[in-house]
């Protein structure tokens, strides 16, 4: 058998089902790959013993005829998900040594479906970033490089470790979280599939919070079919999360391969700003052509408040984060830097424990909520959010799904874009509006840029209509014939 780590989940499950592969062997192959590819820095913590133990159990369950949806499939878990007894860092120094005595609901669902944990994937600190360069545990390298250029590129972020691990076949899939594009942008940068489902589809319980009203977990995989399968395993109503939607989880895998005849695909005219690279525009046009060919109708839609989405996001998300991150105070877990008074201890601990970008956002968030500024900033941003969300509602009166680029550029170099925070923030210009509106957004690779880097397109659906998104995504995936690892 060729390298089993290159299989899709669907292929691996078929072999496991036929008894031609065991989870232990599949897991060992991945662990070996992880060891060889440590230079990518995709994982913060590898859990080989746990992985093998889980794989062993999985093989037993399979033999006993109790196979779950992901029985025996080894996964990387973004280190924002609390995992019982396994260090959970959120990519931050401030959670140094923290071992949660509990498990997140999403990972619990995955383990209940038979998945195996390989380790905890690297990420931007507290999921704040679009390059994975803000991690206290060091930057992650994108497995892709520009044609004829050996310089390292970023994998995107914040789920950069997850994306790199999946792209480099160091996991069959990974969990990600997305607040403003943290699943979709790294998926695009690393040439994989990632979906941020509708807000409320996956439980936030046990996921280290960044911005509660935006955070959503989702799968990162190499194919649309795998994403559909893994989302099915992750999702579901959770009484422990008050914002979790009491909606039944459809069998998303049934959408994979379904016809899109008559589907109306919207193209938001505001998503074509001046200076958007020819590569991106080319990919986008190609994507539309494939959908049209498969029987879809292309319609232009307007999302007039798009240009305000970034600024809105950079008020709302830091405001929530400034409050969500107040609990990291050196009292009950994580880092403590001693001080002579309670305040001194707090201030030293948080100064040392948080990195530059996190501090920047906490300070902005504190400011926009403070007395005298709340209305001008936070309340204003909440109103813009209403307008942005209603733009989408209107667009979905004429379109069933929207197609846009995922990011304005392909992966950039490690260390680039660091000088000006706003330039970095612009990476998420196409993903943030979807997050503010709570809609499902999927990124899939559709081709390569002129210098040989993956380009991603984003499909945006109506609330709780991931099925339409999966249908269209699969059509595009089939047409694109994107060469994954083979291309490198």
């Amino acid at each position: 058998m060729s390298d089993v780590t290159h299989l899709t989940m669907t292929e691996a499950l078929a072999l496991l089902g036929k008894g031609e592969l065991t989870s232990v062997d599949l897991t060992k192959a991945h662990l070996a790959g992880m060891e060889q590819a440590r230079s990518l820095n995709a994982y913060i913590t590898e859990t080989p013993e746990k992985a093998l133990a889980m794989a062993g159990e999985s093989d037993k369950r399979r033999k006993a005829g109790q196979a779950g949806l992901l029985e025996g499939i080894p996964l990387a878990i973004k280190d924002l998900f609390c995992t019982e007894g396994v260090q959970t860092t959120a990519g931050s120094h401030i959670l140094q040594g923290f071992k949660p005595p509990y498990e997140s609901s999403v990972t619990t669902n995955l383990w209940n479906q038979g998945a195996v944990m390989l380790g905890k994937a690297n990420l931007d600190e507290f999921a704040m970033g679009s390059s994975n360069m803000t991690s206290h545990y060091g930057a992650v390298k994108n497995p892709w490089k520009r044609k004829g250029d050996e310089r390292d590129l970023v994998p995107g972020g914040s789920s950069g470790g997850s994306a790199a691990a999946v792209a480099a076949c160091l996991a069959m899939g990974a969990t990600g979280t997305d607040t403003g594009g943290s699943i979709r942008q790294p998926a695009a940068f690393c040439g994989i599939v990632g979906i941020k489902p509708t807000y409320g589809r996956c439980s936030r319980f046990g996921i280290v919070a960044f911005a509660s009203s935006l955070d959503q977990a989702g799968p990162m995989t190499r194919t649309v079919g795998d994403a559909a399968l893994m989302l099915k395993a992750m999702a579901g109503h959770d009484p422990k999360d008050s914002t979790s939607a009491p909606q039944p989880v459809p069998d998303f895998t049934k959408s994979v391969g379904a016809s899109i005849k008559g589907m109306k695909v919207g193209v938001p005219k505001e998503y074509r700003p001046d200076g958007l690279s020819a590569d991106i525009i080319g990919a986008w046009d190609k994507g539309l052509a494939w959908l049209k060919e498969a029987g879809a109708e292309i319609v232009e839609v307007s999302l007039p408040h798009t240009k305000y989405a970034l600024a809105t996001y950079y008020i709302v998300a830091p405001a929530e984060a400034s409050s969500n991150l107040a609990r990291y105070d050196g009292v009950r877990f994580g880092l403590r830097v001693p001080g002579n008074s309670l305040d001194e201890m707090y201030m030293k601990t948080r100064a040392e424990g948080f990195g530059r970008e996190v501090k920047r956002r906490i300070l902005i968030g504190t400011y926009v909520l403070s007395a005298g500024y709340y209305d001008a900033y936070y309340a204003k941003a909440q109103k813009l959010r209403t307008l942005i969300a209603s733009d989408f509602s209107q667009a979905f009166e004429t379109a069933d799904v929207l197609l846009t680029p995922t990011a304005p550029t392909p992966a950039f170099g490690l260390g680039e874009n660091l000088d000006d925070p706003i330039t970095m923030y612009l990476n998420d210009v196409f993903t943030i509006p979807t997050s503010l509106a709570g809609l499902p957004g999927l990124s899939l690779p559709v081709g390569l840029s002129s210098d040989g880097l993956p380009l991603g397109l984003q499909l945006i659906g109506r609330p709780f209509d991931e099925e339409t998104v999966f249908k269209a995504a699969h059509v595009m995936e089939t047409a694109a014939q994107f060469k994954r690892w083979e291309a490198r």
Partner: protein
């Protein structure tokens, strides 16, 4: 809004993040830059627009039954504590 050093100092204290004197100036510039940028929102007329806290706001807040179903594991609560004794977390003495 341009932030001065004193405002940055005040905000940093509210957020309990120590900022060294020499960091105040560059931080003030950086934060001011971001604030200027987000102030573009002021050009949008939002009169009569309701603020949105959550996209899930249409749902009813779920409620749970009044049953004791959690707690009772002080050892787990204290397990990760940087400094604990006799079942308590310890912090530098607070003088009231």
């Amino acid at each position: 809004m341009s932030l001065d050093k004193a405002t940055v100092q005040k905000i940093a204290y509210l957020a309990r993040i120590e900022v060294k004197d020499e960091e105040l100036e560059p931080l003030a510039r950086e934060l001011s830059g971001i604030l200027h940028w987000v102030e573009q929102l002021s050009e949008v007329n939002t009169e009569g627009v309701a603020p949105m806290t959550s996209v899930a706001g249409e749902l009813a807040l779920p409620m749970r039954q009044d049953k004791v179903s959690d707690g009772g594991y002080p050892e787990k609560v204290l397990l990760n504590g940087p400094e604990t004794t006799n079942g308590f977390f310890l912090v530098p003495k607070v003088v009231e």
